[in-house]
């Protein structure tokens, strides 16, 4: 990749990255994999989602992120369906992950365990 040689370069590469991210609108899943997420089994959930989405022919991006701070509800995952606000689900085990795929990712049907955004950000 090319190195960034000026603040203008940085802006350009930000625009390019954003264009690439939004160019292929599809469902985006974030698995929160900080220490507390991993300790509660986030890795198995990541593997399960990767495998199952492929098996069920669902085209989605899976991103590994850090923890959200919801240690009491780990593992947590965030799902953003195209054109919708992201939703965070807590206490996700394989069964829950399966339910999320079948109901929410496929049909947009909500499932129990949603963690509403309880903070503002900048």
């Amino acid at each position: 990749m090319e190195t960034i040689k000026s603040p203008a370069d940085l802006e350009k590469s930000k625009a390019a990255i954003l264009a690439r991210m939004h160019g292929k609108e599809k469902t985006r899943i974030r698995v929160h994999m900080g220490t507390s997420g991993l300790a509660s089994g986030a890795k198995e959930i990541l593997e399960f989602l990767t495998l199952e989405l492929q098996k069920r022919s669902i085209d989605a991006d899976i991103i590994r992120a850090g923890d959200l701070g919801y240690c009491f509800a780990e593992p947590t995952i965030e799902v953003k369906r195209v054109g919708e606000d992201p939703l965070v689900f807590g206490n996700v085990d394989k069964q829950k992950a399966d339910e999320i795929i079948e109901k929410y990712i496929k049909n947009g049907e909500y499932v129990d365990g949603i963690l509403p955004v309880n903070y503002r950000t900048i």
């Binding site: 923890d67 919801y70 509800a73 903070y119």
Partner: protein, 592 residues
């Protein structure tokens, strides 16, 4: 269409379960159960307004909902599409009703500045960070500002060190800038050692570039070319992600030589700590990085004059660095508009102990302890009574019920006999014995004292022995005076921050829970029932049916009695293992 009902503990206490049931019943009554989903969610962060019901996709939020309101929500909103005006939130100032979820945000207690990207970006992909404006502040500083100009912004913002001391960050940078030298260093203190604190770890794991960028900005401001991150080796994931982040930043030309074509050179290396608590103290940290023993030295000279390799060095904590880029991008005025008069911005707290929502939160300075524990934290586990909250870890003190409405900031906490520390907040309930809590923290400091100065090495050990004595029922009233006197001497005469603050848990529990100490030494009883040596297991004969289960499980045969007759425990034989109490099905065994 979906109905989201808050199932957070705060709302649950206010019958959110009944609301869920009633909503489902009403939907069934109108044959809508297949079209409308009713979902139980986690906490909305609006506990004062709970219970909350949110209607999706309309994004309408109803507050203070009663189980009886279910009918109106279903018949009016769902069936006729008319908002139930009476359940909407009325802004106390403008008197306007607010219904849209987005507009309710202002009422949320948490504000994320430090944690802005944690859990949002992929920490191992610099592109995601750049998409969220990483390194933009660095570009701005390098091309548009002089070091003095940037330092002035940090100074004006009122940012104070988040590692514990609360010293002005801008001032610290200014001192390091003014000390001229051909070689200077920027050090990031990631030696997070307080029991129960993990905010630095989460920042490094979730958003490492925010720290790297801020270190480079600091390097430009104080004219240093090298940054060092001192991180404990117990944080393997944070270390791995930092390494990846540094490598990617170098590849993109955001670290290294001639950053963004400005001629500014800055690079960062990682140094590992072996997990010694004292190495969080900046002089000890620097010695440890130099390969020497991790022991503190007397200040002055401060690291800003003579630090790493005897050169001017600026040491800041992870959370402090994570505040820098937003301040540069949004301005000093924006940052100083958040918080209290003398403590600006936000603070991340790690909630731990007997609280429902264990985890990381970030609130503006000045948020009260009550809001933190009972709204954001969801209250005390199992509905028990709040007793105390320890802030500042082993160097801090405890806050009690009378401090619940205290706005949390640097100065208020010190006035209350505690300190901000790095932001660990351990919550204790009615079952916790405060003498044992003080002993626990002393246990930690005795273990972690480096042993260089006598007051800390010997004094803390003696303090611990005295507390041990008291929890064994061997203490006297004179011991309480001795505890206090010795604590004050240790504070006055210790070399570094560790010893100067280690007696704080003792002093603060002595002040706030004096009765509990007195009970331990006079009546030899532990009011919380935690100190094993002061407990006595006792069988209530009225409840005992003589099933003999306790006698059979007792490992020392301390329980006697005939079948179908009330049993007795012989306290002189009993070893207080608690096996009998666990076994008893009739609640006949109690602790006295």
């Amino acid at each position: 269409m979906q109905l989201l009902v808050c199932g957070g503990t705060g709302c649950n206490d206010l019958q959110s379960e009944a609301i869920l049931d009633n909503l489902r019943l009403e939907l069934e009554a109108n044959a809508l159960e297949n079209d409308i989903q009713v979902i139980k969610t986690g906490c909305f962060g609006l506990c004062k307004l709970g219970p909350i019901v949110k209607v999706m996709p309309d994004e309408i939020i109803y507050t203070k909902v009663n189980p009886d309101d279910a009918r109106e929500i279903v018949t009016e909103h769902i069936m006729k599409g008319r908002k139930v005006e009476r359940l909407l939130f009325t802004d106390p100032i403008t008197k306007k009703t607010i219904s849209k979820a987005g507009e309710m945000n202002v009422y949320k207690k948490q504000l994320r500045i430090v944690l802005r990207n944690c859990g949002v970006i992929d920490p191992e992909n610099i592109e995601e960070a750049i998409a969220h404006d990483a390194y933009k502040a660095l570009g701005k500083v390098l091309t548009e500002m002089s070091p003095e100009g940037a330092i002035k912004i940090i100074k004006d913002s009122g940012l104070r060190g988040r590692g514990g001391g609360g010293f002005s960050t801008g001032l610290k940078w200014e001192i390091a800038f003014k000390n001229k030298s051909d070689e200077k260093y920027v050090v990031c203190n990631a030696d997070e050692g307080d029991p129960g604190a993990f905010m630095d770890r989460s920042v490094l794991e979730g958003d490492p570039h925010s720290v790297l960028e801020a270190m480079a900005i600091c390097g430009y401001c104080i004219e240093a070319g090298k940054g060092l991150i001192y991180i404990r080796a117990e944080y393997p994931l944070a270390v791995a992600r930092l390494k990846t982040a540094i490598k990617q930043a170098r590849e993109y030309g955001l670290l290294g030589n001639n950053i963004m074509g400005t001629g500014f050179n800055f690079d960062i290396e990682i140094r590992y700590g072996a997990g010694a608590f004292v190495c969080g103290e900046e002089t000890a940290l620097i010695h440890s990085m130099e390969g020497l023993r991790g022991e503190p030295t007397v200040k002055p000279p401060f690291p800003a004059e003579s630090g790493y390799r005897g050169k001017p060095t600026n040491v800041n904590n992870v959370e402090t660095f994570a505040c820098i880029s937003p301040i540069i991008l949004k301005g000093a005025e924006w940052f100083s508009s958040i918080g209290t008069q003398k403590s600006k911005g936000t603070k991340v707290f790690a909630l731990a102990g007997k609280i429902n929502n264990v985890g990381l939160i970030e609130v503006p300075m000045g948020t009260t302890l009550r809001e933190v524990i009972f709204e954001i934290g969801g209250g005390i586990q199992y509905g028990k009574k709040f007793k105390a909250a320890q802030t500042g870890g082993p160097s801090g003190g405890c806050l009690t019920e009378k401090h619940l409405d205290l706005p949390l900031d640097f100065d208020n906490l010190i006035a209350a006999g505690s300190m901000m520390g790095s932001g660990g907040l351990i919550v204790m309930d009615e079952d916790d014995c405060m003498v044992s809590v003080a002993k626990y923290f002393l246990d930690f400091t005795v273990e972690e004292s480096c042993g260089k100065c006598a007051p800390c090495r010997i004094g803390n050990k003696r303090l611990h022995e005295l507390l041990e004595h008291i929890t064994k029922g061997k203490g006297t009233m004179a011991d309480l005076d001795r505890l206090r006197n010795m604590s004050l001497v240790i504070k006055d005469t210790s070399l570094c921050g560790l010893g100067q603050s280690s007696p704080n848990p003792v002093l603060s529990t002595l002040d706030n829970f004096h009765d509990e100490y007195v009970a331990h030494v006079t009546t030899k009883k532990c009011p919380a029932g935690k100190c094993r040596d002061l407990m006595e297991y006792f069988i209530i004969s009225a409840n005992c049916v003589g099933c003999t289960a306790c006698a059979r499980v007792c490992p020392v045969n301390a329980i006697t009695g005939e079948r179908k007759e009330p049993h007795l425990i012989n306290p002189s034989i009993c070893i207080k293992c608690g096996a009998c109490m666990e076994k008893c099905k009739f609640d006949a065994i109690i602790i006295q």
